[in-house]
């Protein structure tokens, strides 16, 4: 593999709270190549958003502690000074947030908000910055962009605002786009439009994308590689095909099993993974998924390393002690169907 654009090694983020130290991210490592789309998937509280925001230093606060490294084109991001980070933010790595309804300043015209970023990084004169803003708005699919550049955010719908956010993120031609659940707050029909637009823009700009989401359906459309996170750790990482057709970690099986499919008869109850994610202030020892996993055995109290375990798939890594053969048998709840069996409830 060529020199990665962004390389994250053993990233740890913890927050001191009243309930104790919350370990939000626990030893996350991944590489991102130029132009690649990496999807980070997991449920709420798995640390995926914190990981994404930490890359831009947006999780810094007096009660946050960081460890590990994130190197972007030779620049270290985790320990960088605010001034160094400011040069990266928006210009090199740009971010799209989850809720477009609250992510734009309600009292500024949208054009002003985009021009502000262009001028901050490139110091263009007003007229040029404005021209580029209009072009950007046209590119993300805002009709009558020349008029609408002077509108306020409340004059746009949710989907249009997310397009504005995308235009803002692309305004300085960043090499990495971090999208934190960009479609979660939108209607399903709008979700598809926004994803299509992101896919097109990736083709045009060649920017690498880190797509944070809990929705495997979104991922299947757009991602090259997938990292599945659970309770602050990456539990499985591989290409789209490896994750969808040969998943190795029981948590991934559960996620895949929870997708409702329109091409299959409707199940009596929607499949779900039994139990709840652990509290990040008080996590189980060893494998974090152990309490919810029906396949728990004697090895599980030891922390499984993230390692390539499948022959012929050197980039496919996971954290599960089961052997590859055991996994391939156990993940089929019904023949041909991947899923996670119910964990037997031990009587109290």
């Amino acid at each position: 593999m060529a020199e990665p654009l962004l390389s994250v090694k053993d990233l740890e983020v913890s927050f001191a709270t009243e309930e104790g130290v919350v370990q939000a991210v626990d030893g996350v490592s991944f590489d991102l190549a130029a132009g690649e789309v990496l999807a980070v998937v997991g449920e709420s509280g798995s640390g995926k958003s914190v990981t994404a925001m930490t890359l831009m230093g947006l999780t810094r606060s007096p009660n946050a502690r960081f460890a590990g490294t994130a190197t972007y084109k030779g620049t270290e991001l985790v320990g960088a000074s605010e001034d160094e980070l400011r040069r990266v933010r928006g210009a090199e790595i740009a971010m799209i947030f989850q809720d477009p309804m609250t992510s734009l300043n309600p009292v500024q015209r949208i054009g002003t908000q985009i021009v502000e970023q262009i001028q901050e990084h490139e110091g263009l004169p007003d007229q040029q910055a404005r021209e580029r803003t209009v072009e950007l708005l046209e590119r993300v699919g805002i009709p009558r962009a020349r008029e609408r550049v002077d509108n306020y955010p409340h004059e746009f719908s949710g989907g249009m605002r997310q397009r504005v956010m995308i235009a803002l993120a692309l305004s300085c031609n960043p090499s990495v786009l971090v999208a934190d659940e960009p479609t979660t707050a939108l209607d399903v029909t709008i979700q598809a439009q926004i994803l299509q637009r992101m896919r097109d823009l990736r083709e045009e700009t060649g920017a690498a994308v880190i797509l944070v989401t809990h929705d495997l359906g979104v991922v299947a459309d757009i991602a090259d590689r997938i990292a599945v996170m659970y309770a602050g750790r990456i539990v499985e990482e591989g290409t789209l095909d490896e994750i969808f057709y040969d998943p190795q970690h029981p948590y991934t099986w559960g996620l895949l099993g929870s997708i409702t499919r329109v091409d299959k008869p409707r199940p009596e109850r929607l499949p779900a993974i039994a139990g709840l994610p652990p509290s990040l202030a008080n996590r189980p020892t060893g494998c974090h998924f152990r309490p919810r996993c029906p396949h728990e055995f004697s090895e599980c109290p030891k922390v499984p390393p993230l390692a390539a375990r499948v022959p012929d798939q050197p980039e496919h890594r996971d954290r599960c002690w089961l052997s590859v053969d055991e996994k391939r048998t156990k993940r089929e709840v019904t023949p041909g169907e991947i899923g996670l069996a119910d964990k037997e409830r031990t009587p109290a």
């Binding site: 947006l58 933010r89 971010m95 947030f97 609250t102 992510s103 300043n105 901050e120 409340h154 803002l168």
Partner: protein, 315 residues
């Protein structure tokens, strides 16, 4: 935006009409005794009372009385029952003094409160914040007649750094005008600074956690730009309301204590004297006069609001 302003000014006229009716009722009708007797003062004669009754038309039906009173107020025909001086002229004489006090103090307290409030919020929980909190509480707790008297006594009389009260016309000597107003401005502003900086601090702390402030940070802006362009403007909206009301009240002669302590001879002090002498016509006039400024400033605030928050213009 133009239509918004016109609509707001029309509303203002309606409110003023309502205020005038209520003021009229409070002074002339509700006390339930002969208004002519009340107006004629403590030492009076039957003939004076008769004359007042005739002049104000107290035997006429109520609406007629209202019209007579309003005519007197509007034309400046009101006379003090005590000094026989025309009320309108006295108010006009006091206006530059009251305006000098009000405008200077309002700018001072707004500016200092913004600085204190922002700084406090940025340093929230640390020593500087706690220190400013205590200062603010002290400021809020000190009555203006007390702090004003102390300033006058120590800084004016004992040390002689400042003049001991009084007022110099701006047109006469701008430097002396400024010099004479430093203490009154400070005394009047202290209370408001304490209060406003506390409100602004909590607004800023709320706004700092908004998603769009995170967006601003993700754009690579510096802390100062984020604070001023994105946080401050959104935090100012509640403060502007307060400011309009308080500024209007002070403009309309509401700084009775400050004006009296520093002997500024403005509208407020005129009111204080009229109240002391149970002199009804000046009090009536000043009440309407203050109401006018409060209503006016309220309209100005609404227009400012629409400027600060574009979402208001539509609704």
């Amino acid at each position: 935006m133009g239509r918004f302003i016109v609509r707001r000014l029309l509303q203002m006229i309606l409110v003023l009409f309502a205020v005038s009716v209520i003021t009229f009722l409070i002074f002339n009708v509700i006390p339930n005794s002969d208004p002519a007797v009340r107006m004629s003062g403590r030492h009076t004669s039957e003939s004076t009372i008769q004359a007042i009754r005739k002049e104000w038309g107290f035997n006429d039906p109520l609406y007629q009385q209202y019209l007579t009173t309003m005519k007197k107020v509007v034309t400046g025909d009101l006379k003090s029952q005590f000094t026989q001086l025309p009320v309108g002229k006295e108010i006009v004489k006091g206006l530059p003094r009251t305006f000098s006090l009000a405008i200077g103090a309002a700018l001072l307290w707004m500016f200092v409160a913004i600085c204190f409030g922002l700084y406090s919020a940025v340093k929230a929980g640390r020593f500087a914040d706690r220190f400013l909190t205590i200062i603010a509480l002290v400021g809020i707790s000190m009555p203006v007649f007390w702090i004003g008297a102390l300033m006058n006594y120590y800084l004016g009389f004992k040390l002689g750094w400042f003049p001991n009260g009084g007022y110099v016309e701006l047109t006469e000597d701008p430097i002396d005008w400024f010099y004479h107003l430093i203490l009154p401005w400070t005394a009047l502003a202290i209370l408001f600074i304490g209060f406003y900086s506390r409100v602004l601090r909590s607004n800023v702390l709320d706004t700092i956690n908004e998603d769009y402030v995170r967006t601003a940070r993700a754009k690579g802006l510096g802390e100062r730009q984020i604070l001023i362009r994105h946080v401050l403007r959104n935090s100012m909206i509640p403060i502007v309301t307060l400011w309009g009301l308080d500024f209007g009240a002070v403009l309309g002669g509401g700084a009775i204590l400050t004006e009296t302590v520093f002997d500024l001879q403005g509208v407020g002090q005129y009111t204080a004297e009229a109240i002391g002498q149970l002199d009804v016509p000046p009090v009536l006039a000043v009440t309407m006069f203050s109401a006018f400024f409060i209503v006016l400033l309220n309209a100005v605030v609404d227009i400012l609001y629409a400027y600060l928050d574009p979402r208001i213009r539509l609704s």
